[in-house]
Amino acid sequence: MKLKSILSLLAAVAFAGTAAAKDIELLNVSYDPTREFYVDYNVAFANFWKAKTGDTVTVKQSHGGSGKQARSVIDGLRADVVTLALANDVSALHRNGNLLPANWQERLPNDSAPYTSTIVFLVRKGSPAAAKIKDWDDLAQPGVAVITPNPKTSGGAQWNYLAAWEYGRRKYGSDEKAKEFVAKIYKNVPVLDSGARGSTTTFVQRGIGDVFISWENEAFLAVKEFGADKFEIVIPSLSILAQPSVAVVDKVVKRKGTEEVAKAYLEYLYSEEAQDLIGKHYFRPTSEKAKAKYAAAFPKLEIFTIDEAFGGWAKAAKDHFADGATFDQIYLNK
């Protein structure tokens, strides 16, 4: 038997392995409040991909504090895609592991943010504190217990922190005053969870605290699940435009051979079907059609972007969340 015959046989075996419809498994490493959304989205995408290619896609989900999740991927968690709370956590995959290129944000529309959200307050309806809490100032009052996660591990917590900081800066006129203001708020924080879902548990299920600084969708979910008679959403006068970001983890998908389906998985987030699901789960859609459909569901408030207020994520992270930066200064001296 000649070598050519053997190679032909091997090629035939390989072809037989690849030509048939495949079962594909993806891992989506995401942040805390997207659990319910991606359960629905994964079904929609699997149906779409099955109809398009005949392949069966199963998407496994992993959720936790956004920063913690990014660290897990850098440490070896084999995520095909990351759908994290903020661009800086995705960029960490480039900075610390070279798992994706520096220009990852340019690969999908809207800087790879298929939806947006913002930060609001959740209070217990009818509680004495609820009557007092109307804006960020009220969170800094003595005796008010504030629930928010740890900015070192949670993307949502970083949005909370920066929203409070900008409010303080605008109201009191300087970064120094803003720092004092934010310090007063964190003095009122009795529990620092590692992620937003943990903080929801602390506030909603464990009954701790007077006010929860929350993702907008998480606040809506709490009211929907536990009743409008128990919780109410308070809209502050100013908040931040949160842009959760998504990216394919190039190094992993190339190794696993899942690049095509992983890219499609994220691209499909911009489809009308996905945008509608996004609105249903209380995230703010980016397509005009879905925006119009869900416009009434979202409160109108003054929103600023991180670029406007902090010069982008890289600077904000360095100034506030790096080791020894403002959060450490505030929290370690608490």
Binding site: M1, L3, V13, A14, A16, G17, G76, L77, S194
Partner: protein, 482 residues
């Protein structure tokens, strides 16, 4: 008696009443404040308690998460495995020790009675980077330490796995079965014709929903039951190609009476060119591990006195097993063609020898455990105080090996035959045995085997040689395998 004037009495009563009213109102007001203060204190205490509990809960969650990141150490039935927390990397330590006692009941071999450390192996297995599996298995029994298996494999697709290194050539069914779980202490004489371990590349995997498995290998090449040395170059620049296709069509049907049926075919082909110092031919052994057939050889080897591989050799082996409940049957047949020669130039005696062999083995587990190609797992371990004795299995085997008569002829012009006439040209073997599984790891086996030899026509065995009598041997073995 003097009385208090009415006006004074009224004034006094009014004063007392007023005092009393004022005191009551004050008391009532103080009580409400206290209660509110107490309520607030209770609320604050309740919050403090909840905060303490939640912080403890978070600490516990962190501790559990941290514990999950620690490497896992598993010890079971002597086997030790260390794995990373995510299971992507692991090292498993396995071992095999076989202590044999051989007693030859025939006169010719009586002097060979012995105790023997048959195998002493440590196997290091595991995986790294999640998808690469490896195994390294040195053999410590014998006069030198040797490497038996050393390979790395990975799965490209479920149906396409690639293995590189030294491994068993995918041909013989019993040869591919792990040593410690074969029916008999020694494999059958048919396995003399199955290539053993070789160095090369193999692709393998399941097809048709695991109903069929295939193996295709390209290796340096080894014939007739031999092991290829790890440092061997392939002869003449030609590799040996081997393959095996094995079907278990009912394996997925749990209720089928045929779920334990498997059948297939294995084969190998290659070109070989031995030399006097490395003839690339092997002897055939009896059940008692004595040489029944050996090609011409010499302590001072030359092409004139040593038979060498010289041309194309192939082996084909149809094979099958059937396991149902405690019953197990394994059968295989070999037919080989080997071009070998002795002498050179005008005195060259080159023949294409066609050898054949079969093996039919049957086992029955008396204690009712399920038999299987991967061995028997006793329901209970040996523990006399608890009244449990492990599992017992009886085994029987019929095997046959036939060497081409052309090995013994001396063609016109050739000075010598390929093998001396006093070698066996046919060996018929029958054996009975008992296996006692004291636990999954410990087995005691006792085999009684008879080998009947036929020599070339009109040939007589050398006086006192192995073949002077039928070989009758008792082989006892204590085996630790984990």
């Amino acid at each position: 008696m003097r009385t208090i004037p009415r006006s004074l009495r009224v004034a006094l009563a009014t004063a007392i009443a007023a005092t009393g009213f004022t005191a009551t109102t004050f008391a009532q007001a103080a009580s409400a404040d206290d209660i509110n203060a107490l309520r607030e204190q209770i609320r604050l205490l309740d919050q403090k308690l909840r905060v303490l509990e939640r912080n403890q809960e978070l600490k516990d969650e962190t501790a559990v998460a941290d514990a999950k990141k620690l490497p896992k150490i598993t010890v079971s039935d002597g086997r030790i495995e260390v794995a990373s927390s995510d299971g992507a990397n692991s090292l498993r330590l396995r071992g095999l020790v076989q202590g044999d006692a051989r007693f030859y009941l025939d006169d010719a071999n009586a002097a060979q009675d012995q105790f023997l450390l048959r195998r002493a192996r440590l196997a290091f297995e595991g995986k790294f980077a999640e998808r690469f599996n490896y195994a390294v298995q040195p053999e410590f029994a014998g006069s030198t330490v040797s490497i038996l298996d050393a390979f790395v494999n990975t799965s490209v697709f479920p149906a396409l796995n690639v293995q590189v290194g030294r491994f068993k050539t995918p041909v013989g069914l019993e040869q591919l079965q792990s040593d410690p779980i074969a029916f008999f202490n020694e494999r059958s004489i048919a396995t003399n014709l199955a290539p053993n371990r070789d160095v090369g590349v193999q692709v393998f995997g399941p097809l048709a929903d695991n109903r069929v498995t295939y193996q295709v290998a390209i290796t340096n090449g080894v014939i007739d039951g031999g092991n290829s040395p790890t440092d061997s170059a392939n002869s003449e620049g030609d590799f040996t190609y081997s393959g095996r296709l094995f079907a278990t069509p009912f394996a997925n049907e749990k209720d089928s009476a045929l779920k334990g049926l498997g059948f297939g075919i294995g084969g190998a082909i290659g070109n070989y060119s031995g030399s006097a110092s490395a003839p690339l031919v092997n002897a055939y052994r009896t059940d008692g591990q004595q040489n029944a057939f050996r090609y011409a050889n010499n302590a001072a080897p030359t092409l004139a006195n040593t038979t060498i591989a010289n041309g194309t050799s192939y082996v084909i082996s149809p094979q099958a097993y059937f396991y149902t409940g405690p019953l197990g049957i394994l059968a295989e047949y070999f037919t080989t063609s080997s071009e070998v020669s002795i002498g050179s130039g005008a005195t060259l005696n080159q023949q294409k020898l066609n050898n054949q062999a079969y093996n039919l083995s049957v086992g029955y587990v008396l204690t009712g455990e399920e038999a299987g190609f991967r061995g028997v797992t006793p329901k209970t371990n040996f523990n006399p105080t608890a009244g449990t004795w492990g599992a017992f299995e009886v085994v029987a085997r019929l095997a046959w090996l036939d060497v081409d008569n052309d090995a013994f002829i001396v063609p016109a012009g050739a000075p010598v035959a390929l093998a001396a006439a006093n070698n066996a040209t046919e060996v018929s073997s029958f054996g009975l045995g008992l296996n006692w599984y004291l636990s999954r790891s410990v087995r005691f086996g006792l085999n009684a085997l008879n080998n009947d030899f036929k020599l070339a026509p009109s040939a007589a065995p050398a006086a006192g040689s192995v073949l002077a009598d039928d070989e009758q041997v008792l082989i006892g073995r204590v085996q630790l395998s984990f």
